[in-house]
Symmetry: C2
Subunit: 521 residues, 2 copies
C-alpha cells in the first residue's frame, strides 16, 4: 500500500501532516499514516497534469479504452486486500463493498466501451455549398474535445463507486482529461489501493506521466488550492451542500471560472397516493430508508401523503418495520454525530412527532433509524424541516388535502429524485402534484424506491439546485462524460488535418449528424 501521494508516476511525501484511517465500528485506528500533500505537491500534480494533457488529449478513444479497462482489471487484481480495507474503513458490510466494486469496474468498462466506439462525440458535419446565395456555405464540422486537468473530490458514502476510480474519474479520463483526485479522509487506505491500481494501469498502457494523481489532505488546504489553481479546467464533487457550495463559489470566483459539478444530495420526496398505504410499501420504504445506514444521496427522507384513517395504521406499520431492521454503523464518527444532531434539531420542533423507537442509540457510531411525522401546515411553516438529514431518517407529512400537497411540492427545493407510489389511475387524479414534482427533480420513479441508481445511458443523477450545482448534467451513466468536454468546430479545415471522427470517409464508422441527419455514412 502506497502511503504517499501519487503524483503521476512518482510518489511523494513532502508535507508535514498525515491522514489516519479509522474503523468506525471499533473506533480503532487502522494501519498506515497517509502523507498529506502540501502546496508544492498540489502545484506539481497540476503541472504534471497540464503536461500530460498535451499527449493525452490526442490519444485515440480505442487506446484510452485500454487504459480504462486496465484500471478495472487492476482493481479486481487487488482482490480481498481491497475489500477488507474498504469494509474496515467504511463500516459497510462485505456484500455491499463487493457489489460496489462490481459497479465501479462496470462503470470503467462502460466508459471504455463508449469511447472505443466513438458516437458519443456528437460529430456533426455541414457540407459546403459554394452555390448558395447570397453567400456560399462553408464546410463546418464539430465534435467534442477534452477541457484539461479535472479535479475529482471523492465522496465518503461510496468509497469505491464515487471515489478514486469512481464515476467522476472514469468519465473525466474517458473524455480525455488528466485527473487529480482529492482523496476522502474517511478511506485513505482504500484510496491508496485504488490509486496504485490506476498508476499501474497508466504505465502498462503507455499513458503519459501525470494523467492521474492522488493527493491526501484536508479540504481546506488540498481541496481549495486545487479548485483555485489556474491549471485546473473543471471539477466534480459528491458530498454535502455546505462543502459543495464552498467549492462552487471558489470555482466561479476564479479569474477564469471553471465548470464545477457538485452532487449535493436531497430529501427525495416520495408521494404516497391513497392506494400506496399498504404493507408492500412499508417493506419497500423501510428497506430503502435503512439501506447503507441511510447514507445514500437518494435516501427517501420525505414521505408526502394525504390524511386518512388508513394513514395512522400505515405510519405505525412503517415505524415497527424500521425498528425490526438491525441498525448499521455509520461511515465516520463525525457523520454519526451530525446525524443525531440533525435528528435532535428536527425533534426539538414541537410539531414533529416521533413514530419509531430508537434502537442501539448508544452503541459506537450506530445509526438508529428515525421516523417522524408532521402536519402539512407545520411543514409549510418551517422550511428547516425540508432540509436533508443524512442517515436513516424519514419524515411523513400528513397533508390536509391536494391543495396543501401541491403547495408543499411548489415550495420544495430541487431534488435528485421524486417518487410516486400508487396506481396508474391515481396518477391521473394527482396530475397537478406530479407536474409540480417533475419541475423539482432529475429522476422520477413509479412504484419503487429512489435508492439504487442504475448506471446506464438513460440515467439522470443530478437535479435542480441544491440537488446538484447544474441540473443540465449527470454524475452517473454514460452522459456524465459531457461535464468534461466542449465542442470545437472546424471550418473549411483540410480533410488530412481533421480528427478521424470528422474525416470525409468516417474511418471510425461512428454515428454523425450530416446536414442535420443522423447517419453512419
Amino acid at each position: 500500500m502506497i502511503k504517499k501521494n501519487i503524483i503521476g508516476f512518482s510518489i511523494s511525501s513532502e508535507g508535514d501532516s498525515s491522514t489516519q484511517g479509522f474503523n468506525p465500528k471499533t473506533g480503532e485506528p487502522l494501519p498506515g499514516d497517509f502523507s498529506n500533500a502540501n502546496y508544492e505537491e498540489v502545484n506539481l500534480a497540476v503541472e504534471k497534469a497540464t503536461e500530460a494533457f498535451e499527449t493525452y488529449r490526442k490519444i485515440s478513444g480505442k487506446k484510452k479504452s485500454l487504459f480504462l479497462n486496465a484500471i478495472a482489471d487492476e482493481i479486481e487484481n487487488l482482490g480481498e486486500l481491497l475489500i477488507e480495507r474498504c469494509c474496515a474503513e467504511s463500516g459497510l458490510p462485505n456484500a455491499r463493498i463487493v457489489g460496489e466494486r462490481g459497479r465501479t469496474v462496470g462503470q470503467l468498462r462502460m466508459f471504455a466501451n463508449l469511447i472505443s466506439e466513438g458516437s458519443w462525440l456528437e460529430a456533426s458535419i455541414e457540407i459546403a455549398d459554394m452555390e448558395r446565395k447570397p453567400i456560399p456555405k462553408p464546410d463546418i464540422r464539430k465534435m467534442l474535445v477534452p477541457m484539461g486537468p479535472v479535479v475529482v473530490f471523492a465522496a465518503s458514502n461510496f468509497p469505491l463507486a464515487f471515489s478514486t476510480a469512481g464515476g467522476d474519474t472514469a468519465s473525466a479520463l474517458a473524455g480525455g482529461n488528466p485527473v487529480i483526485v482529492k482523496a476522502h479522509s474517511a478511506h485513505p487506505g482504500t484510496s491508496a489501493f485504488i490509486g496504485s491500481a490506476i498508476m499501474k494501469a497508466a504505465k502498462n498502457t503507455g499513458m503519459p506521466d501525470g494523467v492521474f494523481s492522488l493527493l491526501h489532505g484536508s479540504g481546506k488546504v488540498v481541496g481549495q488550492s486545487l479548485i483555485s489553481h489556474s491549471g485546473v479546467k473543471a471539477a466534480g464533487f459528491t458530498g454535502s451542500q455546505v462543502a459543495g457550495r464552498i467549492l462552487f463559489d471558489l470555482a466561479n470566483q476564479r479569474k477564469e471560472p471553471i465548470p464545477f459539478f457538485a452532487e449535493m444530495g436531497s430529501v427525495n420526496p416520495v408521494l404516497l397516493l391513497p392506494t400506496a398505504l399498504n404493507l408492500k410499501t412499508v417493506e419497500m420504504l423501510s428497506t430503502s430508508i435503512t439501506m447503507g445506514s441511510g447514507q445514500f444521496c437518494t435516501n427517501p427522507g420525505l414521505l408526502l401523503t394525504l390524511e386518512s384513517d388508513l394513514l395512522e395504521q400505515f405510519i405505525n406499520d412503517l415505524g415497527r418495520a424500521l425498528e425490526k431492521i438491525e441498525p448499521g454503523v455509520m461511515l465516520t464518527e463525525k457523520i454519526c454525530k451530525t446525524y443525531y444532531n440533525d435528528v435532535g434539531l428536527s425533534l426539538s420542533n414541537q410539531d414533529v412527532k416521533v413514530e419509531s423507537e430508537f434502537q442501539d442509540k448508544n452503541k459506537l457510531n450506530i445509526a438508529s433509524s428515525v421516523l417522524v411525522s408532521v402536519s402539512g401546515e407545520s411543514f409549510l411553516k418551517n422550511p428547516k424541516l425540508a432540509e436533508e438529514v443524512f442517515g436513516p431518517y424519514s419524515m411523513i407529512v400528513k397533508c390536509k388535502n391536494k391543495d396543501q400537497l401541491n403547495n408543499i411540492l411548489t415550495t420544495l427545493n430541487g431534488q435528485l429524485t421524486g417518487t410516486v407510489i400508487g396506481s396508474e389511475d391515481e396518477m391521473r387524479s394527482f396530475i397537478l402534484s406530479i407536474n409540480q414534482l417533475e419541475k423539482k427533480v432529475g429522476r422520477l420513479i413509479f412504484n419503487n424506491v429512489p435508492t439504487g441508481v442504475e448506471v446506464c445511458s438513460s440515467m439522470q443523477h443530478g437535479g435542480p439546485y441544491p440537488a446538484s450545482s447544474d441540473s443540465r448534467f449527470t454524475s452517473v451513466g454514460t452522459m456524465a462524460i459531457k461535464r468534461f468536454v466542449r465542442p470545437v468546430a472546424f471550418q473549411s479545415w483540410p480533410d488530412s488535418q481533421l480528427p478521424d471522427e470528422l474525416k470525409n470517409d468516417n474511418p471510425l464508422n461512428i454515428w454523425r449528424l450530416i446536414n442535420g441527419e443522423w447517419t453512419m455514412d
Copy 2:
C-alpha cells in the same frame, strides 16, 4: 410602435424614466420615449413567465413550432418600418440590416423545424430486464425538458439577430421556456417593433400570457434585478466582458445559482503562415477587420506571424488596403469613444507601431480602422496588448521564431475563434502552434476569416473563458437550445403517463437511443 414595456399580453409604463433612441450618424434623437421598467414591472414579468411556464412547458414541439414560425412571419410583416428604424438606430447600412433580418427569421424557422421534428430531445430508453442478476434492471427513460423563465440580455451589435428575437430568445422559447428580454438601450425602437411581433404571434398561436415580455431600462435596475430574481431559471447574454462578468457573478451568487451563458467576445487570433503573406490575404483581412465597423465578436484583432522580409511588404499592403475602405459609423457614441480610448491605450505603448493612417477621425461616431504592429517579445511582456479593442482594429505580432509563436499562443486567453491561413503542408510544420490554438478556441477556420458565423447544427459560437462563460455551450446554431434544457429520467413510469417522446411505440417517430443504440423504432 409600442413605447411601453410589453409584459405578457399587456403593456405597462409604471416607471418614472425612459429610454430614447438616437441616430449615431447624426447624433439626433429618434422619435419615441420608451418607458423604463421599475421593480414592480420586473416582478410582474417574472410572475407572468412563471405562470406561463406551467402551460408552455407542456405544449408540444409541433405547436411551439407554429409560434416560432409566426414570430418570423410577423417580423417580415413589419416590412420597411422595421428596416428603417433599425438602420437609423444602429447606423448600419440597409443591406446589412436586411441580411440580418433574413438571418433572424431564418434562425426562428430553424428552431421551429428542430422542435417540430423532435430528435434533438435526446430521448434515451433502457428497457427493463427483470431476469438480470444480482438485481433486476428497471425500465429507465430520459429526455430533455425546459428549465423555466429565461432572461435574455440583448446585444447592441446585432440589433436583430442577437437581440429581442435573436438566437437566445429563439432557442429558449424553442426549448419550452418563457422569455423576458432586457431590451438594449441602443435600439429601443427596433426592440419595440420586434416585441410587438412576438406578442402578436403568441396571441395568434394560442400561447399563454407571459410566455414573452420585453422590458426597457438600465442594466443596473432592470438587468441586475432580473438576473437575481428567484423566479428566473437561466439567462443568456451577448456583450462586453465587464458587463458579462457582473451578471455571471450575480447569477452564481444567488441562493439558487442559475446557468448563465455569456458570450463576451475575443481577439480571434489569426495565424499567418509564411505563404499567407499575399494580396489575397490582404483583401480577406481588410474586409473582415472593417466589416460592420469592426463591431463583430469574431473580428480578427490579432494577427500572429513570423518575422520575414515579405512581412514588411504585407503589413504595408494591409495598411494601405484598410485606408482605402470607407470608414463606417459605430453603433453608439459610447462605443465609439471607448474604441478611440482603447486604441489610444494601445498606441501609448512605445513598442506599438501604427501601420495605417487615420481616416475621418473627427467625423461623428466614425471609426477609423487602425492597424498596429508589435514584436513578439513586446507582446509577451504586455498582457494588456492581448485584450480586445472593439472596433476596426487589428494588431500584427511579429514573432522571432516558432518557439516564440508557441509561447504567445500558450499565454493567450480563451477565444471564440482561431484562424490559420497558409497551405496544408505548412499546417504540418506548424502543428505545435495549431495544437495550442485548438486548446484556446471554440472554432477553427482555415484559409478564411472568422467573421461570418454560419447558423447550423455544426456551429460552435462560444469558447474557453473569457470568450464565453461556459465553453461547453454555443449561442449560435441548433445546439444553442441545450443551454436552456435539462434531462429528466422516468423510472418504471407507466407508458400512458410518459411524454410522447418516450412512449413505447415512438408516436413522434424520432431518433432515440434504445439500450445504447440509435434507432427510429
